[in-house]
Amino acid sequence: MSEDLSRFDTFPKLLAHHAAVRGARPAIRNKRRGIWQTHSWSDVAREVRRIACGLAALGFKRGDHLAVIGDNRPCLCAAVCAAQALGGIPVPLYQDSPSAELVYPIQNAEIAFAMVEDQEQVDKLIEILPQCPSLKRICYNESRGMRDYTDERLTNYETLTSLGDDYDRAHPEFYAAQVAKGVGADIAGIFSTSGTTGHPKGVVLTHMALIDRAHAVAQLEGLRETDQVLAYLSPAWIGQSVFSCAQPFVTGYCICCPESFETVTSDMCEIGPTYYFAPPRVLEALFRQVSIRMEGASALKRRLYRYFMRVAGRVGGEILDGKPIGGLDRLMYALGALVVYEPLRDGLGMGQVRVAYVAGEALSPDLFRFYRSIGINLKQLYGTTETSVFVCIQRNGQVKDDTVGPAVAGVQLNFTSRRELLVRSPGMFKEYYKNPQATAEAKDAEGWFHTGDAGFIDADGHLKILDRVQDIGRLNDGTLFAPKYLENKLKSYPYIKEVVALGQDRDMACAFINIDSEAVGVWAERRNLSYSGYANLASQDEVYDLIRECVEKVNSELAHEPELAHSQIHRFLILHKELDPDDGELTRTRKLRRRHVVEKYATLVDAIYSGKQTSHVTLEVRYEDGRTGSISADLKIRDAKTFPPVAARKSA
């Protein structure tokens, strides 16, 4: 990205710029009627101008809100920009949300204008018109099935644009003037947070914020005008709108809209995006498809596939990171690329992907490695709506599967005493729309945004997200204690099924452990040591030793993480029964109910912290048939070796 765009502080200005310098290049490819219909930048500029003028003709004024509801369609993108051009505020809403959910945002922002895709959306709005008196004009793009609609508040796209043309002819300077009026501090849009409880909050983002972030990332990844993105998620999701509105407007790359929901996969294969992003669920689904389809393949293919996937698993990631690899491995990988990886990427439509992000939550490490190993440059991205998405991005060649990488240029990271991640960034949101109190909670006086995520910076300066803050505690020595993190680390060993990490307001971290009866059972048989049932197996010394090794491995790893060096597991015991939803120890979805367990096993907790070597426990269990009985046992408690914290290596 050589050209200097600093003088363009709003999207409409950027659009004008692109129309001028790369007017002929494709801005939007829209698969319609079987072919990719291409809209050049100048086309889009023209379209935006027409819509803007049309809206103005219909009485759209600066500061008015425009609800945008529908799939990724050129005219809707244009409508967003048109609203911005008029100094208005586009409010993209989820096209798949039921009419009831549309009521609040429309009432809240007293939205007067709506630009929607088709009959379906129109019907929803008409249904809620009574509750939304503010709504006085609905423009729709596809007139199919709209023949018998008589409501005078409806305007179809053709009318809108022709109105625009007339208005433009009448006031030739109007549009340019409006665009010129805009400044970076103006509001570029209101995006609803993926609201978990209550009404979704409307996050207000300014032009400057979005443009700046888009800029930073464009520089970071070296995005070019020749890049292509497939816009296949709801444009109301901040992620989608950043990728398919903010970034292209900055870098001038091309957005591609699939033909229909069913054809997304095939359309992706056709267009071959170079810049790709997906929430974990999409990548998981893709992977599932791959494995299912491979199951149906011939024996030979399956063998080839398995073999080369092993090769890839061994060296793929490194090769992608440009690390030195043995000649033979390199050869094998090259072979694999020819036979499996490239065809696979091709089949997934990722044959040309240069940069791919997994956004949203974290993706499971194995999947992450899978995609990287077949040569797709997939990277973790940490961001929130409030920060115009980009906070941290993994850098090419320095990808670790358990971090989200270092901060993006311009972003400052900080942590509260409770390890809560604080972000200060040019991409910071202005406010929660009409919700000062929430705004105050989220953004403090110095402009730090409280993410609600707990984490820390690792030795290489990568951000590591531990957990939601409310689950984070601390040891008596004041150092961080992140139970979930510890538990996950331990659970990554096949022998360990469940873990309860203790240590909140204690001197040291300890753990209750559930062994995985199968894995350990197999292990035991190989050592031909006899056992009768779970409780017995769990109480064997050999098993304790086995588990201790695991715990000590974890400890040694923790020792390298300054933040967590102190929460190494000092003592542990193996529970004599499996934690069980029936006994209320796990949720039905097999999540640990920590508080409940701690209360239930209070005696054990005391024992483990009072340094005893064994502890007697009796507790009531509910059997399959609903009868209740009590089992009692003497549990051994063992110490695990801990390691002195290793001084943080300076990252190269």
Binding site: I35, G272, R293, K301, P343, D346, G351
Partner: protein, 358 residues
């Protein structure tokens, strides 16, 4: 496996409707043509050119002709050889009696005459279907041959009833060397194959297939069944006639009507059954198969007789040949009615899907 399809998107219908939408296919085709036009004439031995490649190409053309009629329009014909004969003899007479006309125009005119005859014998197809039609085409076969045998004028009163092909000259260049003959044949076949493909992928072909698949529906849509059928007959006859002319002038050189017996019709029919009914590519595959198999058999028999030093009479070999052909037809009809073309298509699909099964 070799296909890389991502990024091959189409922004116009023209691009979407081209014969080879995939880049890799276009490259492969270009290579094939390059080899056929440049490499082969350079390295090809006379035997290969005159005894294998030329007849293969010519029969492919005939097969295309029959495929248009039988494969696309669904009208079974057993009269292919007759139309080839017409092509051969009419061309002969044009070149003989109107030398100023030039070779190519003569061939084209011959083709048109054949088309006319085709129309005449296609007329019954308006009223009748299936076997009846097949019989009608048989009638054509016998009638035409009879005429050619009886009317000596057509054979320029040669006592032996055999005609000798004149050397073809185009703009003063005489096509008499094997390589030149091969190139001429190849060019003609290539051009006509392309033309056929164009017709079959467009309006004409759709009309034909509509008539083939469901004639009532076709008529309801406004397709004139009669017109479509007759057109199919005409085009098909034209192709066969040109093939016949080439068969005489580029391959046999001396011909008697007997050269175009019913057996030849059957051979061409077998080509499209084995190669693939309703496929231009299939016509080539089938022709290749049917022309190569006898050669292989002969080689094989010589080899065997060489080993066990028993001599296998040519009669026996040819009997075996007909047995093998016969059984192949039956096998293909049972196992893969769509013929080699279909198999090729499946293989290609697999390549595209690789490593996925579907």
């Amino acid at each position: 496996m070799l296909y890389r399809q991502t990024g091959q998107f189409k922004t116009t219908y023209a691009a979407d409707q081209q014969i080879f939408p995939l880049r890799q296919d276009r490259i492969a085709m270009a290579l094939l043509l390059a080899i056929a036009f440049v490499a082969v004439p350079l390295i090809g031995t006379t035997y290969w050119l005159t005894a294998i490649l030329i007849p293969f190409l010519i029969l492919s053309l005939a097969a295309i002709g029959l495929n248009i009629l039988t494969g696309y329009a669904g009208q079974l014909s057993l009269g292919t050889a007759a139309f080839m004969a017409i092509g051969a003899f009419i061309t002969y007479n044009f070149i003989l009696r109107m030398p100023w006309l030039g070779a190519i125009p003569s061939i084209i005119l011959a083709g048109l005459c054949a088309a006319g005859v085709g129309l005449a014998f296609g007329l019954p197809s308006v009223r009748i279907k299936g076997f009846y039609l097949a019989v009608a085409t048989l009638a054509c076969q016998f009638f035409v041959l009879w005429v050619l045998q009886r009317v000596d004028w057509l054979k320029n009163y040669s006592t032996s009833g055999v005609i000798t092909a004149q050397t073809i000259e185009i703009f003063g260049y005489a096509f008499d060397s094997p390589a030149s003959k091969y190139l001429l044949t190849l060019s003609v076949v290539a051009v006509m194959a392309l033309a056929a493909k164009n017709m079959m992928r467009g309006r004409t072909g759709r009309a034909f297939m509509a008539v083939r698949d469901m004639d009532v529906a076709a008529s309801v849509i406004g397709i004139r069944i009669m017109r479509a059928k007759l057109l199919a007959f005409a085009i098909s006859s034209f192709y066969c006639a040109v093939a016949g002319a080439l068969y005489t002038y580029m391959y046999l050189l001396t011909v008697e009507p007997e050269a175009f017996r019913l057996e030849l019709s059957f051979r061409v029919l077998f080509m499209i059954i084995i190669g693939g009914v309703g496929s231009i590519l299939g016509s080539f595959l089938g022709a290749a198969f049917i022309t190569l198999l006898p050669i292989l058999l002969n080689r094989g028999s010589e080899w065997i007789s060489g080993i066990f030093n028993v001599d296998i009479s040519h009669a026996t070999v040819s009997h075996f040949e007909s047995i093998i052909f016969g059984s192949l037809i039956i096998i293909f009809l049972i196992v893969e009615p769509q013929g080699l073309a279909r198999l090729w298509q499946i293989a290609k699909e697999k390549m595209r899907r690789w490593p996925f099964p579907y």
